[in-house]
């Protein structure tokens, strides 16, 4: 029992180690050149050698992503509130939102570059555009799926729409909201890197693009790993907040 518990906790690390070992082994066995497929060891060496530039690029990417993500939270929550609380707004906005979400963001970046030039603007905006949709949908779902009986109970008491939204709707949609943050933050990183690769002058995306064009595959891979690690860390951060604030919605796993 105790054994399997600790196995469960360490399982991601064990799996990672196995994959890395296997990867290293395959690369060495077939002696694949590093400009095609670098081994973990070579990537690790790049980390040490280029730790300065990598850190700087990671920091840049991180806060561009955070800016876009913050924007996505504000806009996403407001839109979700609007769409979830009014039938008319739902009917009017939802199809447009879906259509907008289906547009490949890679196609939008060049347009943003024309409008905002090379630099911060496109990165922040792409991160925002790619990540606000799940937040909107989840807030709207939380608000729209109120039990009609409960609404009746409150309306009889003279509750206004606003009362019902604030006392019931918003708390109810919080688990959906935090769930969507976890998804949105990983998407936001994708958006930033996308913009940096097509039209950036700094950040991990730019670094990878440059490294790739110079056939320095190990460095490009180091950039990939950096992005992955950052997204994972932020995901864990938000799921920690989620557990702390909306424990009532996850009672199955940590019931008292």
């Amino acid at each position: 029992m105790k054994m399997s518990k600790s196995l469960e906790r360490w399982s991601p690390f064990i799996l990672l180690a196995i994959i890395l070992l296997l990867w290293q082994f395959v690369v060495m066995l077939f002696s694949i050149p590093d400009y095609i497929f670098p081994s973990p060891w070579q990537i690790a060496q790049q980390f040490v050698e280029f730790s300065g530039p990598l850190l700087e690029a990671a920091w840049k990417t991180f806060w561009v992503t955070m800016l876009g993500f913050a924007l996505a939270i504000v806009v996403g929550v407001l839109l979700g509130f609007l769409v979830g609380s009014s039938r008319t707004a739902y009917a009017a906005l939802y199809p447009l939102l879906v259509a907008f979400n289906a547009v490949p963001k890679a196609a939008v970046v060049p347009i943003l570059v024309v409008w905002f030039g090379i630099g911060l603007g496109p990165g922040v905006l792409t991160a925002f555009l790619i990540s606000f949709f799940p937040i909107t949908v989840n807030i709207a779902t939380g608000l729209a799926t109120l039990e009609p009986e409960l609404e009746d109970v409150l309306r009889v008491l003279g509750a206004h729409r606003w009362d019902v939204l604030v006392k019931v709707g918003l708390p109810r949609s919080m688990p959906y909201f935090y769930g969507s943050l976890k998804i949105a933050i990983t998407l936001a990183f994708v958006g930033t890197v996308l913009a940096e690769m097509t039209a950036g002058d700094s950040g991990i995306g730019y670094l990878m693009q440059t490294a790739g064009s110079q056939q320095r595959m190990p460095l490009a891979f180091a950039g990939l790993v950096t992005i992955g690690a950052m997204a994972m860390a932020m995901y864990e951060f938000f799921s920690w907040i989620e557990k702390r604030t909306t424990g009532w919605a996850h009672r199955g796993s940590n019931a008292t």
Partner: protein, 301 residues
């Protein structure tokens, strides 16, 4: 559990529509002015249905005396829930008129409390906070909720204790059993001391033993506080055990086909449900429902 009148007599509260309480001699012999008065009420849910002449309920006329407990039984889809919406003022009749407490119903009636088959407690609030929710919304409690919270909380705790939920006030709903959640839901409906309690199949999802326990809880609450109850149910035994008057409704269109006075003496004990007098009434009402069914089949679709 038949405990004290925890939340005080209903007329003690400052009710927005409390005017009717000062009618002298309102209880006992047939009062000149009924508390709830449905006069030939018809309801179609929207304009189209009204134009087609499709009504959810038709020609409902009934009167409730102050403190009376009535039950409405009928097959599903007979407009029982519509009846509740009319009584609480959430829906306005298409034809006819409804007077409650001597005044025409023009909007949501704050003097009523509602509970449904699903307890629909808020999972992020403790039981006590769930019960207090109405006080955060309804006037006059709303405006002084913050300053008088302590007093209201004590009252709500007494109410919870009186239905056997003492010691569970600070638990979350998911930590309670189904029957306990339903008790809490009924407390939520009663916390603002309504003059009218509307219950829509409140015990439908419970097992038979828990259901009978809750019958007694409701019986005792009503005996202590003398509020009106309108109980919508499928269960004939439930309606006969609890109500003063049982109305049988027919299926679409919803009409009241039978009104049956239940003269069994109060207080009624669960044992009474096994007496011939009781089963005779249940049987008789069952006969009416059976008759409706047959007629329903005969009507060509």
């Amino acid at each position: 559990m038949s405990g004290g009148p925890s939340a005080g007599p209903p007329q003690a509260g400052p009710h927005p529509l409390g005017g009717s309480t000062d009618v002298p001699g309102g209880r006992g012999a047939p009062s000149p002015r009924p508390f709830v008065d449905f006069d030939k009420v018809w309801l179609a849910y929207n304009e189209d249905l009204l134009a087609q002449g499709t009504f959810a309920v038709e020609d409902i006329s009934l009167q409730l005396q102050e403190g009376e407990f009535i039950a409405i039984v009928g097959p599903s889809g007979c407009g029982k829930s519509t009846f509740m919406k009319l009584t609480t003022g959430l829906k306005m009749p298409s034809r006819g008129s409804i007077h409650i407490g001597g005044q025409p119903v023009t909007g949501p009636l704050k003097i009523s409390g509602m509970a449904f088959q699903a307890p629909s407690l808020l999972p992020w609030r403790t039981t006590i906070d769930n019960v207090l929710l109405p006080l955060e919304i309804v006037e006059p409690y709303r405006s002084n909720f913050k300053s008088k919270r302590r007093e209201y909380e004590a009252k709500a705790r007494d109410l919870l204790k009186s239905v056997g939920l003492g010691g569970y006030e600070d638990k979350f709903p998911w930590q309670l059993s189904g029957g306990m959640q339903q008790r809490a839901s009924i407390c939520r409906a009663l916390v603002h001391e309504p003059k009218m309690l509307l219950l829509d199949e409140p015990f439908g999802a419970l097992d038979a033993f828990t259901r009978e326990e809750l019958w007694c809880t409701l019986r005792d609450l009503q005996a202590a506080q003398k509020f009106n109850v309108i109980l919508v149910t499928h269960d004939l035994r439930e309606s006969v055990f609890l109500a003063d008057t049982v109305y049988v409704m027919s299926r679409s269109p919803g009409r009241i086909v039978v009104q049956r006075q239940i003269d069994l003496p109060r207080p009624r004990d669960l044992e009474i449900t096994y007496t011939p007098a009781f089963t005779d009434i249940v049987h008789e009402l069952r006969g009416h429902i059976g008759a409706i069914r047959k007629v329903g089949v005969a009507v060509p679709q």
